[in-house]
Amino acid sequence: MLKTTKLKTSKSIPPICLTGLGTIGVFQLPRLNAPAINLPLYASKVSAGFPSPAEEYVEKRLDTNDYLIDQKDATFFITIQGYSMVDVGLLPKDKAVVDRSKTPTVGDIVLAVVDGEFTVKTLGRNKEGAVRLLPANSTGAYKPIEITEEMNFEIWGVVTGSFRRF
Protein backbone atom coordinates (compact mmCIF):
# COMPACT_ATOMS: atom_id res chain seq x y z
CA MET A 1 0.00 0.00 0.00
CA LEU A 2 1.01 3.53 -0.56
CA LYS A 3 2.01 5.29 2.57
CA THR A 4 3.13 8.83 3.05
CA THR A 5 4.99 10.69 5.71
CA LYS A 6 3.78 14.20 6.29
CA LEU A 7 6.63 16.62 6.32
CA LYS A 8 6.72 18.95 9.20
CA THR A 9 6.86 22.49 7.99
CA SER A 10 10.09 23.88 9.24
CA LYS A 11 9.05 26.66 11.52
CA SER A 12 11.10 29.74 11.95
CA ILE A 13 12.29 30.66 15.35
CA PRO A 14 11.59 34.14 16.71
CA PRO A 15 12.50 36.92 16.26
CA ILE A 16 12.98 36.33 12.54
CA CYS A 17 9.72 35.33 10.98
CA LEU A 18 9.19 33.81 7.60
CA THR A 19 6.47 36.20 6.46
CA GLY A 20 5.76 35.75 2.83
CA LEU A 21 7.85 32.63 2.53
CA GLY A 22 6.08 29.61 1.16
CA THR A 23 5.85 26.52 3.28
CA ILE A 24 6.87 23.00 2.41
CA GLY A 25 3.76 21.59 4.03
CA VAL A 26 2.54 20.54 0.61
CA PHE A 27 5.34 18.02 0.17
CA GLN A 28 5.11 14.43 1.23
CA LEU A 29 7.70 11.72 0.90
CA PRO A 30 6.75 8.34 -0.50
CA ARG A 31 7.36 5.59 2.04
CA LEU A 32 9.35 3.34 -0.20
CA ASN A 33 10.30 0.67 2.27
CA ALA A 34 6.67 -0.38 2.51
CA PRO A 35 6.21 -4.00 1.51
CA ALA A 36 4.62 -4.43 -1.91
CA ILE A 37 0.97 -5.27 -1.75
CA ASN A 38 -0.17 -6.72 -5.01
CA LEU A 39 -3.88 -6.46 -5.55
CA PRO A 40 -5.69 -8.15 -8.42
CA LEU A 41 -6.25 -5.99 -11.47
CA TYR A 42 -9.28 -6.84 -13.54
CA ALA A 43 -8.71 -7.06 -17.24
CA SER A 44 -11.95 -5.51 -18.40
CA LYS A 45 -12.10 -1.74 -18.32
CA VAL A 46 -14.86 -0.56 -16.07
CA SER A 47 -16.87 2.32 -17.47
CA ALA A 48 -18.66 4.26 -14.77
CA GLY A 49 -21.16 1.53 -14.24
CA PHE A 50 -21.35 -1.85 -12.64
CA PRO A 51 -18.76 -4.41 -13.77
CA SER A 52 -20.16 -7.60 -15.19
CA PRO A 53 -19.57 -10.47 -12.74
CA ALA A 54 -18.78 -12.66 -15.75
CA GLU A 55 -15.73 -10.55 -16.48
CA GLU A 56 -14.03 -11.17 -13.17
CA TYR A 57 -10.90 -12.23 -14.90
CA VAL A 58 -7.66 -11.27 -13.19
CA GLU A 59 -5.09 -10.14 -15.71
CA LYS A 60 -2.20 -9.43 -13.38
CA ARG A 61 -1.52 -8.12 -9.94
CA LEU A 62 -0.85 -4.47 -9.29
CA ASP A 63 1.25 -2.80 -6.62
CA THR A 64 0.34 0.87 -6.22
CA ASN A 65 3.88 2.06 -5.50
CA ASP A 66 5.13 0.19 -8.51
CA TYR A 67 2.37 1.69 -10.66
CA LEU A 68 2.88 5.29 -9.57
CA ILE A 69 6.66 5.48 -9.13
CA ASP A 70 9.29 5.04 -11.85
CA GLN A 71 12.38 6.37 -10.12
CA LYS A 72 12.02 6.12 -6.35
CA ASP A 73 15.08 8.21 -5.50
CA ALA A 74 13.71 11.15 -7.49
CA THR A 75 10.01 10.95 -6.61
CA PHE A 76 8.07 13.23 -4.25
CA PHE A 77 4.37 13.67 -3.56
CA ILE A 78 2.59 16.99 -3.39
CA THR A 79 -0.94 18.01 -2.52
CA ILE A 80 -2.78 19.99 -5.18
CA GLN A 81 -4.23 23.32 -4.10
CA GLY A 82 -6.69 25.38 -6.16
CA TYR A 83 -8.64 24.77 -9.34
CA SER A 84 -6.18 25.85 -12.04
CA MET A 85 -5.61 22.31 -13.35
CA VAL A 86 -9.05 20.73 -13.03
CA ASP A 87 -9.35 20.11 -16.78
CA VAL A 88 -6.47 17.63 -16.66
CA GLY A 89 -8.00 15.96 -13.64
CA LEU A 90 -6.06 17.57 -10.83
CA LEU A 91 -8.52 18.58 -8.11
CA PRO A 92 -7.79 20.33 -4.82
CA LYS A 93 -6.40 17.90 -2.19
CA ASP A 94 -5.38 15.36 -4.86
CA LYS A 95 -1.91 13.90 -4.36
CA ALA A 96 0.32 14.37 -7.36
CA VAL A 97 3.47 12.37 -8.11
CA VAL A 98 6.48 14.53 -9.03
CA ASP A 99 9.46 12.86 -10.68
CA ARG A 100 12.61 14.98 -10.80
CA SER A 101 14.52 12.49 -12.95
CA LYS A 102 12.34 13.18 -16.01
CA THR A 103 13.42 15.83 -18.47
CA PRO A 104 10.48 18.19 -19.01
CA THR A 105 9.21 18.81 -22.51
CA VAL A 106 6.47 21.07 -23.85
CA GLY A 107 3.08 19.63 -22.99
CA ASP A 108 4.21 18.02 -19.72
CA ILE A 109 2.50 18.93 -16.49
CA VAL A 110 5.24 20.32 -14.29
CA LEU A 111 5.83 21.56 -10.77
CA ALA A 112 7.54 24.89 -11.37
CA VAL A 113 9.03 27.49 -9.06
CA VAL A 114 8.28 31.07 -10.11
CA ASP A 115 9.92 33.71 -7.94
CA GLY A 116 10.08 31.31 -5.04
CA GLU A 117 6.46 30.12 -5.30
CA PHE A 118 5.49 26.59 -6.29
CA THR A 119 2.89 26.11 -9.01
CA VAL A 120 1.62 23.15 -11.03
CA LYS A 121 0.96 24.02 -14.68
CA THR A 122 1.35 22.64 -18.20
CA LEU A 123 4.68 23.58 -19.75
CA GLY A 124 4.35 25.57 -22.95
CA ARG A 125 6.23 28.01 -25.15
CA ASN A 126 5.04 31.18 -26.86
CA LYS A 127 5.84 32.13 -30.49
CA GLU A 128 9.10 33.75 -29.43
CA GLY A 129 10.13 30.53 -27.73
CA ALA A 130 9.81 31.87 -24.18
CA VAL A 131 8.38 29.60 -21.52
CA ARG A 132 4.72 29.97 -20.55
CA LEU A 133 2.97 28.03 -17.86
CA LEU A 134 -0.55 27.13 -18.91
CA PRO A 135 -3.46 26.52 -16.58
CA ALA A 136 -6.02 23.86 -17.48
CA ASN A 137 -9.32 25.42 -16.52
CA SER A 138 -11.84 26.22 -19.25
CA THR A 139 -13.64 28.82 -17.13
CA GLY A 140 -10.82 31.20 -17.99
CA ALA A 141 -10.38 32.13 -14.36
CA TYR A 142 -6.65 31.42 -14.57
CA LYS A 143 -4.29 33.18 -16.95
CA PRO A 144 -1.09 31.69 -18.39
CA ILE A 145 2.10 32.77 -16.62
CA GLU A 146 4.58 34.25 -19.10
CA ILE A 147 8.11 33.66 -17.90
CA THR A 148 10.38 36.63 -18.47
CA GLU A 149 14.11 36.98 -17.99
CA GLU A 150 13.72 38.98 -14.80
CA MET A 151 11.78 36.16 -13.15
CA ASN A 152 13.37 33.49 -11.06
CA PHE A 153 12.17 30.37 -12.80
CA GLU A 154 12.94 26.71 -12.35
CA ILE A 155 11.18 23.47 -13.20
CA TRP A 156 11.25 21.45 -9.99
CA GLY A 157 9.98 18.21 -11.49
CA VAL A 158 7.57 16.58 -13.90
CA VAL A 159 4.13 15.59 -12.60
CA THR A 160 3.72 11.99 -13.71
CA GLY A 161 0.48 10.99 -11.99
CA SER A 162 -2.01 11.61 -9.26
CA PHE A 163 -4.20 9.78 -6.77
CA ARG A 164 -7.21 10.61 -4.65
CA ARG A 165 -9.32 9.29 -1.80
CA PHE A 166 -13.05 9.87 -1.75
Partner: protein, 390 residues
Protein backbone atom coordinates in the same frame (compact mmCIF):
# COMPACT_ATOMS: atom_id res chain seq x y z
CA UNK B 1 39.69 -13.64 -14.38
CA UNK B 2 41.05 -11.73 -17.32
CA UNK B 3 44.74 -10.97 -17.35
CA UNK B 4 44.32 -7.23 -17.16
CA UNK B 5 42.20 -7.65 -14.03
CA UNK B 6 45.28 -8.86 -12.16
CA UNK B 7 46.50 -6.37 -9.59
CA UNK B 8 49.46 -4.31 -10.71
CA UNK B 9 52.57 -4.33 -8.51
CA UNK B 10 51.83 -0.83 -7.20
CA UNK B 11 48.18 -0.32 -7.86
CA UNK B 12 46.88 3.20 -7.49
CA UNK B 13 43.45 3.18 -5.97
CA UNK B 14 40.81 5.69 -6.90
CA UNK B 15 38.71 6.46 -3.87
CA UNK B 16 36.02 9.10 -4.08
CA UNK B 17 34.47 11.05 -1.25
CA UNK B 18 31.12 12.58 -2.13
CA UNK B 19 29.47 14.94 0.29
CA UNK B 20 26.48 17.24 0.24
CA UNK B 21 27.26 20.94 0.64
CA UNK B 22 25.71 22.38 3.83
CA UNK B 23 23.48 19.31 3.96
CA UNK B 24 20.68 20.37 6.34
CA UNK B 25 20.39 23.84 4.81
CA UNK B 26 20.41 22.38 1.30
CA UNK B 27 17.58 19.97 2.24
CA UNK B 28 15.47 22.87 3.51
CA UNK B 29 16.12 24.83 0.32
CA UNK B 30 14.88 22.02 -1.92
CA UNK B 31 11.42 22.40 -0.41
CA UNK B 32 11.51 26.13 0.18
CA UNK B 33 13.18 27.88 -2.77
CA UNK B 34 12.79 31.26 -1.04
CA UNK B 35 15.66 30.24 1.22
CA UNK B 36 18.06 30.20 -1.75
CA UNK B 37 20.57 33.03 -1.62
CA UNK B 38 19.50 34.03 1.90
CA UNK B 39 21.57 33.47 5.06
CA UNK B 40 20.05 30.41 6.74
CA UNK B 41 20.98 28.44 9.84
CA UNK B 42 19.43 25.17 10.97
CA UNK B 43 19.15 24.91 14.76
CA UNK B 44 19.22 21.82 16.95
CA UNK B 45 15.80 21.07 18.41
CA UNK B 46 16.69 20.83 22.08
CA UNK B 47 19.03 23.75 22.58
CA UNK B 48 18.64 25.93 19.49
CA UNK B 49 22.29 25.90 18.45
CA UNK B 50 23.40 26.31 14.85
CA UNK B 51 24.05 22.82 13.47
CA UNK B 52 24.21 23.87 9.81
CA UNK B 53 24.90 27.16 8.06
CA UNK B 54 24.44 28.31 4.51
CA UNK B 55 27.45 29.88 2.79
CA UNK B 56 25.81 33.29 3.29
CA UNK B 57 25.53 32.66 7.04
CA UNK B 58 29.15 31.47 7.17
CA UNK B 59 30.21 34.64 5.36
CA UNK B 60 28.46 36.70 8.05
CA UNK B 61 30.63 34.94 10.62
CA UNK B 62 27.99 32.73 12.26
CA UNK B 63 30.04 30.14 14.16
CA UNK B 64 29.09 26.46 14.18
CA UNK B 65 27.32 25.52 17.41
CA UNK B 66 26.38 29.11 18.27
CA UNK B 67 23.09 29.33 20.21
CA UNK B 68 20.33 31.26 18.41
CA UNK B 69 19.81 33.74 21.26
CA UNK B 70 23.38 34.93 20.81
CA UNK B 71 22.73 35.40 17.11
CA UNK B 72 19.64 37.57 17.52
CA UNK B 73 21.32 40.90 16.82
CA UNK B 74 23.26 39.61 13.86
CA UNK B 75 20.11 37.91 12.59
CA UNK B 76 18.08 41.10 12.81
CA UNK B 77 20.76 43.09 11.11
CA UNK B 78 21.25 40.73 8.17
CA UNK B 79 17.93 38.90 7.98
CA UNK B 80 19.38 35.53 8.95
CA UNK B 81 16.66 32.89 8.99
CA UNK B 82 16.74 30.29 11.74
CA UNK B 83 15.01 26.97 11.08
CA UNK B 84 14.28 24.18 13.48
CA UNK B 85 15.74 20.90 12.30
CA UNK B 86 13.66 18.24 10.61
CA UNK B 87 15.63 15.01 10.97
CA UNK B 88 13.02 12.83 9.27
CA UNK B 89 13.43 14.91 6.14
CA UNK B 90 17.23 14.85 6.29
CA UNK B 91 17.27 11.07 6.76
CA UNK B 92 14.99 10.61 3.73
CA UNK B 93 17.12 12.88 1.54
CA UNK B 94 20.30 11.17 2.74
CA UNK B 95 18.89 7.77 1.78
CA UNK B 96 18.13 9.05 -1.72
CA UNK B 97 21.67 10.38 -2.21
CA UNK B 98 23.28 7.16 -0.92
CA UNK B 99 21.01 5.04 -3.09
CA UNK B 100 21.88 7.05 -6.22
CA UNK B 101 25.60 6.77 -5.43
CA UNK B 102 25.32 3.01 -5.03
CA UNK B 103 24.67 2.86 -8.78
CA UNK B 104 28.14 4.26 -9.45
CA UNK B 105 30.17 1.62 -7.60
CA UNK B 106 29.47 -1.62 -5.81
CA UNK B 107 31.95 -0.63 -3.10
CA UNK B 108 30.37 2.04 -0.97
CA UNK B 109 31.01 3.15 2.57
CA UNK B 110 28.31 5.46 3.86
CA UNK B 111 30.52 7.49 6.15
CA UNK B 112 27.91 9.81 7.61
CA UNK B 113 24.46 11.18 6.88
CA UNK B 114 25.87 13.45 4.16
CA UNK B 115 29.12 11.74 3.13
CA UNK B 116 29.95 8.57 1.27
CA UNK B 117 33.15 6.95 0.07
CA UNK B 118 33.05 5.04 -3.22
CA UNK B 119 35.85 2.84 -4.49
CA UNK B 120 36.20 3.74 -8.17
CA UNK B 121 39.40 1.73 -8.74
CA UNK B 122 37.53 -0.62 -11.05
CA UNK B 123 36.34 2.31 -13.16
CA UNK B 124 39.76 3.80 -13.88
CA UNK B 125 39.47 3.09 -17.60
CA UNK B 126 36.91 5.87 -17.65
CA UNK B 127 37.55 9.56 -17.26
CA UNK B 128 36.81 9.77 -13.54
CA UNK B 129 36.29 13.53 -13.61
CA UNK B 130 33.39 13.19 -16.03
CA UNK B 131 32.17 10.17 -14.02
CA UNK B 132 32.19 12.42 -10.95
CA UNK B 133 30.41 15.19 -12.85
CA UNK B 134 27.76 12.66 -13.88
CA UNK B 135 27.16 11.76 -10.22
CA UNK B 136 27.05 15.39 -9.19
CA UNK B 137 24.58 16.36 -11.91
CA UNK B 138 22.33 13.37 -11.30
CA UNK B 139 22.14 14.01 -7.54
CA UNK B 140 21.43 17.69 -8.17
CA UNK B 141 18.67 16.92 -10.69
CA UNK B 142 17.06 14.01 -8.85
CA UNK B 143 17.20 15.39 -5.31
CA UNK B 144 17.99 19.10 -5.69
CA UNK B 145 21.04 18.70 -3.44
CA UNK B 146 24.46 20.11 -4.42
CA UNK B 147 27.40 17.76 -3.84
CA UNK B 148 31.17 17.89 -4.27
CA UNK B 149 33.29 14.95 -5.36
CA UNK B 150 36.92 14.44 -4.36
CA UNK B 151 39.04 11.61 -5.74
CA UNK B 152 42.41 10.41 -4.50
CA UNK B 153 44.38 7.22 -3.97
CA UNK B 154 43.53 7.05 -0.24
CA UNK B 155 40.62 8.15 1.92
CA UNK B 156 42.71 10.97 3.40
CA UNK B 157 43.55 12.25 -0.11
CA UNK B 158 39.93 11.85 -1.24
CA UNK B 159 38.88 14.04 1.70
CA UNK B 160 41.43 16.67 0.72
CA UNK B 161 40.40 16.52 -2.93
CA UNK B 162 36.81 17.05 -1.78
CA UNK B 163 37.94 20.10 0.18
CA UNK B 164 39.55 21.49 -3.01
CA UNK B 165 36.44 20.70 -5.06
CA UNK B 166 34.41 22.72 -2.58
CA UNK B 167 36.73 25.68 -2.04
CA UNK B 168 38.20 26.16 -5.51
CA UNK B 169 35.74 27.07 -8.26
CA UNK B 170 38.29 26.05 -10.93
CA UNK B 171 37.43 22.39 -10.26
CA UNK B 172 33.69 22.86 -10.81
CA UNK B 173 32.88 20.73 -7.73
CA UNK B 174 34.83 17.65 -8.87
CA UNK B 175 38.54 17.28 -8.10
CA UNK B 176 40.64 14.23 -8.96
CA UNK B 177 44.15 14.26 -7.50
CA UNK B 178 45.02 11.15 -9.49
CA UNK B 179 44.48 13.02 -12.77
CA UNK B 180 46.95 15.77 -11.85
CA UNK B 181 50.62 15.92 -12.71
CA UNK B 182 52.89 15.42 -9.65
CA UNK B 183 54.17 19.01 -9.88
CA UNK B 184 50.63 20.32 -10.22
CA UNK B 185 49.47 18.39 -7.16
CA UNK B 186 52.49 19.49 -5.16
CA UNK B 187 51.79 23.11 -6.03
CA UNK B 188 48.20 22.67 -4.84
CA UNK B 189 49.14 20.90 -1.60
CA UNK B 190 51.57 23.70 -0.78
CA UNK B 191 48.61 26.07 -0.63
CA UNK B 192 46.46 24.03 1.75
CA UNK B 193 46.70 24.52 5.48
CA UNK B 194 47.81 21.45 7.44
CA UNK B 195 44.65 21.78 9.60
CA UNK B 196 42.46 20.82 6.65
CA UNK B 197 43.75 17.24 6.69
CA UNK B 198 41.31 14.59 7.86
CA UNK B 199 41.92 13.85 11.54
CA UNK B 200 44.10 16.87 12.22
CA UNK B 201 42.02 19.05 14.45
CA UNK B 202 42.33 22.54 15.80
CA UNK B 203 44.56 21.36 18.64
CA UNK B 204 47.06 19.34 16.62
CA UNK B 205 47.40 21.86 13.78
CA UNK B 206 49.18 24.59 15.84
CA UNK B 207 51.59 22.00 17.26
CA UNK B 208 52.50 20.85 13.77
CA UNK B 209 52.81 24.43 12.58
CA UNK B 210 55.18 25.16 15.47
CA UNK B 211 57.40 22.40 14.08
CA UNK B 212 57.30 23.98 10.64
CA UNK B 213 54.63 21.79 9.10
CA UNK B 214 52.39 24.53 7.80
CA UNK B 215 50.92 23.03 4.66
CA UNK B 216 49.71 19.63 3.53
CA UNK B 217 52.84 19.31 1.41
CA UNK B 218 55.04 19.92 4.49
CA UNK B 219 53.37 17.06 6.36
CA UNK B 220 53.45 14.81 3.32
CA UNK B 221 57.25 15.21 3.26
CA UNK B 222 57.59 14.62 7.01
CA UNK B 223 59.29 11.58 8.50
CA UNK B 224 56.46 9.29 9.61
CA UNK B 225 58.56 7.42 12.19
CA UNK B 226 59.68 10.58 13.91
CA UNK B 227 56.18 12.02 14.08
CA UNK B 228 54.78 8.75 15.39
CA UNK B 229 57.21 8.94 18.30
CA UNK B 230 56.38 12.59 18.88
CA UNK B 231 52.61 12.33 18.40
CA UNK B 232 50.76 9.15 17.61
CA UNK B 233 50.42 6.22 15.29
CA UNK B 234 47.37 7.97 13.85
CA UNK B 235 49.53 10.78 12.54
CA UNK B 236 51.97 8.27 11.06
CA UNK B 237 49.11 6.66 9.17
CA UNK B 238 47.96 10.06 7.97
CA UNK B 239 51.41 10.75 6.50
CA UNK B 240 51.42 7.40 4.70
CA UNK B 241 47.95 8.10 3.38
CA UNK B 242 49.05 11.52 2.09
CA UNK B 243 51.74 9.67 0.15
CA UNK B 244 49.24 7.34 -1.43
CA UNK B 245 49.58 4.26 0.78
CA UNK B 246 46.19 3.02 1.91
CA UNK B 247 46.13 2.65 5.72
CA UNK B 248 42.42 3.22 6.29
CA UNK B 249 40.44 1.02 3.96
CA UNK B 250 36.81 1.30 3.00
CA UNK B 251 34.46 -0.30 5.46
CA UNK B 252 32.52 -1.86 2.72
CA UNK B 253 29.02 -2.97 3.31
CA UNK B 254 28.04 -5.18 0.44
CA UNK B 255 24.49 -6.46 0.15
CA UNK B 256 22.92 -8.48 1.60
CA UNK B 257 24.26 -6.75 4.65
CA UNK B 258 25.10 -8.85 7.66
CA UNK B 259 25.25 -5.71 9.72
CA UNK B 260 23.70 -2.31 9.33
CA UNK B 261 25.66 0.59 10.68
CA UNK B 262 24.60 4.17 11.09
CA UNK B 263 26.95 6.63 12.70
CA UNK B 264 28.35 10.09 12.38
CA UNK B 265 31.22 12.21 13.56
CA UNK B 266 29.80 15.41 14.97
CA UNK B 267 30.82 18.77 13.53
CA UNK B 268 30.98 20.09 17.08
CA UNK B 269 31.64 17.94 20.14
CA UNK B 270 28.48 17.01 22.03
CA UNK B 271 28.41 16.86 25.82
CA UNK B 272 24.84 16.52 26.98
CA UNK B 273 22.78 13.39 27.08
CA UNK B 274 19.76 14.88 25.26
CA UNK B 275 21.73 15.84 22.15
CA UNK B 276 23.31 12.40 22.04
CA UNK B 277 19.87 10.82 22.43
CA UNK B 278 18.60 12.92 19.55
CA UNK B 279 21.46 11.72 17.33
CA UNK B 280 21.02 8.08 18.35
CA UNK B 281 17.30 8.31 17.56
CA UNK B 282 18.10 9.66 14.10
CA UNK B 283 20.75 7.02 13.37
CA UNK B 284 18.53 4.19 14.55
CA UNK B 285 15.62 5.45 12.46
CA UNK B 286 17.79 5.49 9.37
CA UNK B 287 19.25 2.05 10.20
CA UNK B 288 15.72 0.66 10.64
CA UNK B 289 14.74 1.97 7.21
CA UNK B 290 17.73 0.18 5.67
CA UNK B 291 16.81 -2.95 7.60
CA UNK B 292 13.27 -3.01 6.27
CA UNK B 293 14.42 -2.13 2.78
CA UNK B 294 16.39 -5.36 2.64
CA UNK B 295 13.47 -7.11 4.36
CA UNK B 296 15.49 -8.23 7.35
CA UNK B 297 14.96 -8.29 11.11
CA UNK B 298 17.66 -7.49 13.66
CA UNK B 299 18.55 -9.89 16.45
CA UNK B 300 20.79 -7.51 18.35
CA UNK B 301 21.46 -3.82 18.72
CA UNK B 302 24.83 -2.21 19.37
CA UNK B 303 25.22 1.41 20.51
CA UNK B 304 28.52 3.21 20.82
CA UNK B 305 29.81 6.66 21.72
CA UNK B 306 33.32 8.00 21.82
CA UNK B 307 35.41 11.12 22.27
CA UNK B 308 37.84 12.18 19.56
CA UNK B 309 40.99 10.01 19.39
CA UNK B 310 42.61 12.93 17.58
CA UNK B 311 42.37 15.09 20.71
CA UNK B 312 44.65 13.14 22.95
CA UNK B 313 45.08 15.85 25.56
CA UNK B 314 41.32 15.91 26.25
CA UNK B 315 39.82 13.26 28.57
CA UNK B 316 39.11 10.15 26.51
CA UNK B 317 36.11 7.89 26.82
CA UNK B 318 34.80 5.29 24.48
CA UNK B 319 32.20 2.67 25.17
CA UNK B 320 29.70 0.47 23.44
CA UNK B 321 27.02 -1.95 24.47
CA UNK B 322 25.45 -4.83 22.61
CA UNK B 323 21.89 -5.72 23.53
CA UNK B 324 20.54 -9.04 22.32
CA UNK B 325 16.83 -8.94 21.55
CA UNK B 326 14.33 -11.55 22.74
CA UNK B 327 12.94 -11.76 19.24
CA UNK B 328 14.17 -10.22 16.00
CA UNK B 329 12.43 -7.02 15.00
CA UNK B 330 12.34 -4.36 12.31
CA UNK B 331 10.17 -2.00 14.32
CA UNK B 332 11.64 1.51 14.52
CA UNK B 333 10.01 2.38 17.85
CA UNK B 334 11.30 -0.78 19.52
CA UNK B 335 14.77 -0.38 18.07
CA UNK B 336 14.99 3.28 19.09
CA UNK B 337 13.83 2.50 22.64
CA UNK B 338 16.42 -0.26 22.98
CA UNK B 339 19.16 1.98 21.59
CA UNK B 340 18.26 4.77 24.02
CA UNK B 341 18.28 2.31 26.92
CA UNK B 342 21.76 1.25 25.80
CA UNK B 343 22.89 4.87 25.54
CA UNK B 344 21.78 5.46 29.14
CA UNK B 345 24.00 2.58 30.30
CA UNK B 346 27.15 3.83 28.61
CA UNK B 347 26.72 7.61 28.81
CA UNK B 348 29.10 9.41 31.17
CA UNK B 349 28.85 13.17 31.67
CA UNK B 350 31.64 15.73 31.13
CA UNK B 351 33.17 14.26 28.01
CA UNK B 352 33.32 15.90 24.59
CA UNK B 353 31.74 13.22 22.43
CA UNK B 354 32.92 13.30 18.82
CA UNK B 355 31.10 10.32 17.36
CA UNK B 356 28.12 8.12 18.08
CA UNK B 357 26.41 5.35 16.22
CA UNK B 358 24.29 2.26 16.18
CA UNK B 359 24.73 -1.12 14.55
CA UNK B 360 22.11 -3.74 13.87
CA UNK B 361 23.37 -7.30 13.67
CA UNK B 362 22.32 -10.94 13.76
CA UNK B 363 20.13 -10.08 10.83
CA UNK B 364 17.62 -12.63 9.65
CA UNK B 365 15.37 -12.53 6.65
CA UNK B 366 11.61 -12.30 7.00
CA UNK B 367 11.25 -16.06 6.51
CA UNK B 368 13.81 -16.84 9.18
CA UNK B 369 12.13 -14.94 12.00
CA UNK B 370 11.21 -17.06 14.96
CA UNK B 371 8.70 -15.62 17.32
CA UNK B 372 9.59 -15.73 20.94
CA UNK B 373 6.98 -17.78 22.69
CA UNK B 374 6.90 -15.36 25.58
CA UNK B 375 7.02 -12.07 23.79
CA UNK B 376 3.83 -10.09 23.67
CA UNK B 377 3.77 -9.68 19.96
CA UNK B 378 5.82 -11.45 17.36
CA UNK B 379 7.87 -9.65 14.78
CA UNK B 380 5.41 -10.47 12.07
CA UNK B 381 2.52 -8.94 13.91
CA UNK B 382 4.51 -5.76 14.34
CA UNK B 383 5.40 -5.65 10.72
CA UNK B 384 1.99 -4.31 9.93
CA UNK B 385 2.36 -1.55 12.48
CA UNK B 386 5.64 -0.15 11.19
CA UNK B 387 4.03 2.12 8.78
CA UNK B 388 2.28 4.14 11.42
CA UNK B 389 4.98 3.95 14.05
CA UNK B 390 8.10 4.77 12.17
Amino acid sequence: MKENDMPLPHPTRSIALIDVNNFYVSCERVFNPKLVGVPVVVLSNNDGCAVARSNEAKALGVPMGEPWFKLKDLAKQHGIIGLSSNYALYADMSNRVMSILREYSPDQEVYSIDESFLDLTGFQSRDLISYGQHMRKRILKWTGLPVCVGIGSTKTLAKLANHCAKKRPVFNSVCNFNAMLPTELEHLLCQIDVGEIWGIGRKLAPKLQALGFNTVQDLKRANPDRLRQQFSVVLEKTIHELNGTVCIDLEEISPPKQQIMSSRSFGQPIRDYNSLAESITLYMSSAAVKLRRQQSFAGSVHVFIRTSPFKQDAPQYSNGITIPLPSATDNTMQLVNIALWGLKQIYRPNYDYAKAGVMLSELVTAQGVQNDLFSQSGANAENGKNCTLS
